[in-house]
């Protein structure tokens, strides 16, 4: 008997959970914020249980039917957006619960319907409510919400449409993702005010924990989608690399600086980014930045810089400005490279590459030769 009782109660509750949560969330900032936070915490914990099932003694598998009700309820109440907005105001445990809830909800595929149904909530968000994703990104504004929001984002970003929503968010501009993924015009250059461009500041200006998490998400965003991102970078080449070099590569934070140089190398050496790479290594000013990195006083910065520098030198079609710089500094470079990171005696690949660069620089023509047309 009690079994049936428990079951029915669970069902009525489930329908109601999203509404309850909504009521509490919207009052978090009010005079009774603390009390509301407690109540919300309980509701969120219940929601998590519905999604996860329970473990241990009262093992219960999650019930797809209940989950379906919960997910649709959350969509109706616009709870995903509310939770994303207020994430940093929630208590410690509730933030973690919210993270779990998002993860499960975005993964959930309805039990009935087409053979391989889309994850219901994610499809809804991407097409109709892109602000949820933007708000999740804004989680980086606060130390409290950075980790849970970031964790959710990185999972969601595996979906190309979700990544596009973030990349192409551009306020009310024409072709912005603000009206859903369908409204995106991928070839329109970005204004630089969309949420994606805020990542540069989150990475550069936040505390270590926030910055590190934001960088990880940024890396995912920029490396995961081999069709979307090269096209995006091509359309926004100057804007992107200007910020990248100015804010990240020259950051005062050791971690940001080192990681972003490394990521730059990865971006350039990614096959999918071939056109981006050739455009990048044609610019003399890019080479200057990188050559300065080689002289940084921290070895790991030098080392990461080397892996970008080598792309310039190894390029068989060096542009005239690049050749000019290299030829002007030929002797200095040869001298410098022959002692560069000498103590990396066990790093064979590095030694080989360094030798190769020395050879390349030595064999440069005495004056720049325009590269053959490609």
């Amino acid at each position: 008997m009690s079994f049936f009782f428990g079951r029915t109660r669970a069902r009525t509750n489930t329908v109601d959970l999203a509404k309850q949560a909504r009521d509490h969330v919207t009052k978090l900032e009010g005079p009774q914020g603390a009390a509301k936070a407690d109540e919300l915490a309980k509701v969120l914990a219940q929601m998590k249980q519905v999604l996860q099932g329970t473990h241990g003694a009262t093992e219960a598998e999650p019930n797809p039917e209940l989950i379906y009700q919960l997910v649709t309820g959350m969509i109706e109440e616009d709870l995903l957006n509310l939770l994303a907005v207020h994430l940093h105001r929630l208590p410690f445990e509730s933030r973690k619960d919210t993270q779990v809830i998002f993860s499960y909800v975005f993964r959930f595929r309805p039990p009935t319907g087409p053979q391989k149904p889309e994850p219901l909530a994610l499809a809804y968000v991407v097409e109709r409510r892109p602000q949820v994703l933007v708000e999740l990104c804004r989680g980086y504004d606060h130390k409290e919400s950075a980790t849970p929001a970031g964790t959710v984002l990185r999972e969601v970003l595996k979906n190309e449409a979700a990544a596009a929503v973030i990349l192409f968010d551009d306020g009310d501009e024409q072709g912005s993702s603000c009206r859903g993924v369908g409204g995106i015009n991928p070839d329109r250059p970005q204004s630089g005010r969309g949420v994606f461009w805020s990542f540069f500041d989150w990475i550069d200006k936040s505390s270590f924990e926030v910055s590190a998490d934001a960088f990880t998400t940024f890396r995912e965003l920029i490396t995961k989608h081999k069709d979307l991102v090269p096209r995006y970078l091509a359309a926004n080449f100057d804007l992107f690399f200007d910020r990248y070099n100015r804010v990240l590569v020259q950051s005062n934070s050791y971690v940001t600086k080192r990681q972003s140089i490394k990521l730059l190398g990865e971006i350039l050496l990614d096959r999918a980014n071939y056109n981006i790479m050739t455009a990048y290594v044609d610019r003399g000013e890019h080479l200057k930045i990188v050559m300065n990195l080689l002289r940084d006083d921290r070895k790991m910065v030098q080392y990461e810089g080397f892996h970008v520098f080598k792309v310039f030198v190894a390029n068989p079609h060096k542009s005239v400005p690049v050749q000019k710089i290299l030829i002007m500094n030929r002797d200095k470079l040869l001298q410098f490279l022959s002692h560069f990171l000498e103590d990396r005696t066990e790093d064979e690949q590095f030694i080989d590459e360094r030798e190769f660069l020395i050879k390349q620089i030595r064999n440069l023509p005495p004056a720049p030769v325009p590269p053959p047309q490609r």
Binding site: G56, F208, Y254
Partner: protein, 678 residues
């Protein structure tokens, strides 16, 4: 953000210990007056680990349980990352084990607390993956907390599984080793092993080489607790050590086990802490605290080249400074890195000459810096700290809050350590202020013999000792080795010429005994029958750890990336190609080669005052060195060829060791930045 500002919030006090990633200090949060532990991680010293460290922080920062060490904050200062944690004054269980094994009552309490901690972690979707005594900390009041989340995993989805091969071999669950996909249950296995560790002082198979253990665990029946323990305890361990994870109980289920239910209060554990303190006092082991010195500075590589001897001194209080400033922290990066090297080298490096050579090459840069540390310490007025770096293989974690053991492959030696060393040191060692002898040293090598002696020490003796130490599992043997290593270090500091003569005489004695000669110097075909007296060889004595071959053999067939570099110590590379092949198939021969290699002297350059006899010997040595260099090239070439066939039936071992090898080289590459820099 403003790391400086946040850092000012903390008053950093004495050093607590060293982990694989950095130094841990005791500190005070000025805002609250609370005592904290602050871990300093030098990011410049790791190549790819920033993300792993981030991972550790993110797992820790989402834990809120009284059974898990509480994370407080982290921030950057220059290229140092500070992680502020709850301070636990009782030390780790591994430290506490040094003064004796635990009784059942104590173990039951610890296991219950650990199960509560694991129950929490697992309900949060986290797997610790490195449960062992070293990672269990006690507060002064006896509270038990899980520490070191260096390899912990966060599952985003409850049903998901992991495949990553991490942990510490002795404590690893079979399914982790087999990489068949594992989940929370892996922690339960490790808990069972840890319980045995607390009862016996060592985990099962502690006498085996860690690599061998990796094959042993999945293949054999689970270890069993034997001896005069209660039925309940034995059953508890047996439950934890069920090989099939599906039949292994969860943390929640184990909390209902009789052994656990009858466990007492945590306060009973204070006994252990007190016992350890008493033992420390008895052993006169209360060390002078090592105080934090601001070492934040921008590394300037060019300067370092100039000042290679005192690379970090510029940031430290002048050398005539107080006794307390004896151990400036950055020196230990080297020590630390050495330890990590050894940890990884241990299982993997020994057997083909190619590998051995490589390992030796890698060690080279460190020798200089370690030597530099020796000098500096001594100039500070005490020879004792100079021996510090000579115990590279064990972090001093007597106060708990150890560093992360990210991917430690070898158990952190629990013994053969401070107590043994310091306790048994001659009085002038123990006495800090007994300065005279110390102030004369170190001797700058001023004769050829002395220079050779120093070279011999740096390039042959010390690396070989380190290597042997890394390969030796048994604690008493390790201690013996550590002492020998210390002795050599001292000799080198005081009388490098003595080291030269020692080895020289050793070689000639060996060459005079037919059998020894054939074993150790086989290329030197001049049996001299006149004498059969042979010196016992110091470094070969404790090296009877011949257990690692099964795995190393396969590892040896990995393509070697060693290049024949100028300055490669030929001593460790002497082996003919024939031997190379034999050694691949005959592990026992292998260890002989290794030892032989380590026993051989450097090819000595003419010193202008040898007898004709010695001249001839030198001739021979030169010849031999020539030949060996050729062979070495061949061997290097051979080693470069892509992986050879695995022994039939052992393909899985090959796959595993290939993987381990890759991890190992990655690890080395990551660490090497520092060593190279100093």
């Amino acid at each position: 953000m403003d790391g400086e500002g946040v850092a000012r919030r903390y008053q950093v006090l004495e050093e607590l210990g060293r982990g694989s990633f950095g130094v841990v200090y005791k500190g005070i949060d000025k805002a609250t007056g609370e005592t904290v532990a602050i871990k300093h991680i030098d990011l410049e010293s790791s190549e790819d680990d920033i993300q792993e460290i981030q991972q550790e922080i993110s797992v820790l920062s989402t834990c809120a349980s009284s059974y898990v060490t509480q994370y407080k904050a982290s921030f950057l200062r220059g290229h140092k990352l500070w992680i502020v944690m709850e301070y636990l004054g009782g030390g780790s269980c591994l430290d506490l084990l040094k003064s004796g094994v635990f009784n059942e009552v104590q173990i039951a309490i610890i296991c219950r607390e650990l199960l509560l901690g694991l129950e929490y972690l697992h309900s949060e979707g986290k797997i610790h993956r490195d449960i062992k005594a070293a990672n269990v900390l006690l507060s002064e009041t006896g509270k038990v907390k899980l520490a070191d989340f260096g390899v912990a995993a966060q599952l985003t989805y409850m049903k998901s599984q992991r495949n990553t091969f991490v942990g510490t071999p002795f404590w690893m669950a079979p399914e982790v080793i087999q990489q068949a996909g594992y989940d929370f249950k892996a922690d339960i296995w490790s808990l069972g092993i840890s319980a045995m560790e607390l009862a016996m002082g060592e985990p099962p198979h502690a006498n085996l080489h860690p690599m061998k253990v990796l094959f042993h665990i999945p293949k054999n029946a689970p270890p069993r607790l034997e001896g005069k323990f209660s039925k309940e305890f034995k059953d508890f361990v047996a439950q934890c050590l069920v090989k099939d994870p599906d039949f292994r109980p969860t943390a929640k289920e184990l909390l209902k086990h009789r052994f656990i239910r009858s466990a007492g209060k945590v306060e009973a554990l204070q006994e252990l802490i007190q016992r350890k303190r008493n033992a420390d006092v008895r052993a006169d082991q209360l060390k002078h605290p090592v105080y934090y010195q601001e070492t934040l500075h921008t590394i300037s590589p060019k300067d370092e080249v100039d000042e290679w001897v005192f690379d970090t001194v510029k940031s430290i209080v002048p050398r005539r400074g107080t006794v307390r400033s004896r151990k400036p922290s950055s020196v230990y990066l080297v020590e630390d890195a050495m330890r990590k090297l050894d940890l990884k080298d241990g299982p993997l490096q020994p057997n083909t000459p190619g590998t051995v050579r490589k390992a030796t090459v890698r060690r080279q840069p460190s020798t200089a810096s370690r030597q530099s540390s020796v000098r500096r310490h001594i100039s500070n007025g005490s020879p004792r700290p100079s021996l510090g770096p000579k115990r590279p293989l064990q972090p001093d974690m007597s106060f708990g809050n150890s560093g992360s053991t990210m991917r430690l492959f070898r158990r952190v030696p629990s013994d053969g350590s401070n107590s043994g060393l310091l306790g048994s040191s001659p009085p002038e060692f123990a006495n800090e202020n007994h300065a005279p002898a110390a102030y004369h040293s170190p001797v700058e090598p001023n004769s050829k013999e002395a220079m050779l002696g120093r070279r011999l020490y740096n390039k042959a003796l010390e690396p070989c000792l380190d290597e042997l130490h890394a390969q030796t599992a048994a604690s008493s043997k390790r201690e013996a080795l550590a002492r020998l290593s210390d002795a050599f270090a001292y000799l080198d500091a005081v009388d490098p010429e003595g080291a030269y003569h020692l080895v020289r005489n050793l070689v000639s004695s060996i060459s005079q005994d037919t059998r020894l000669n054939n074993i150790f110097l086989p290329q030197q075909h001049h049996p001299s029958p006149k004498s059969s007296n042979s010196n016992p060889q110091p470094s070969s004595k404790p090296a009877n750890d011949g257990t690692q071959q099964g795995t190393v053999l396969i590892k040896g067939s990995r393509p070697s990336t060693a290049t024949t570099l100028a300055g490669t110590p030929p001593a460790s590379a002497l082996s003919s190609p024939t031997k190379l092949i034999m050694s691949q198939e005959n592990p026992h021969l292998m260890s002989h080669h290794r030892r032989r290699g380590s026993m051989l002297p450097q090819p000595v350059s003419p010193d202008g005052r040898g007898s004709p006899d010695k001249e001839r010997e030198r001739e021979r040595e030169r010849d031999r060195a020539e030949k060996d260099r050729e062979r070495e090239k061949l061997a290097a070439l051979e080693a470069k060829l892509p992986g050879r066939q695995a022994v039939p039936g052992m393909e899985h071992c090959k796959a595993l060791s290939d993987l381990l090898y890759a991890r190992w080289t990655d690890g080395l590459r990551a660490r090497w930045g520092v060593l190279a820099g100093s």
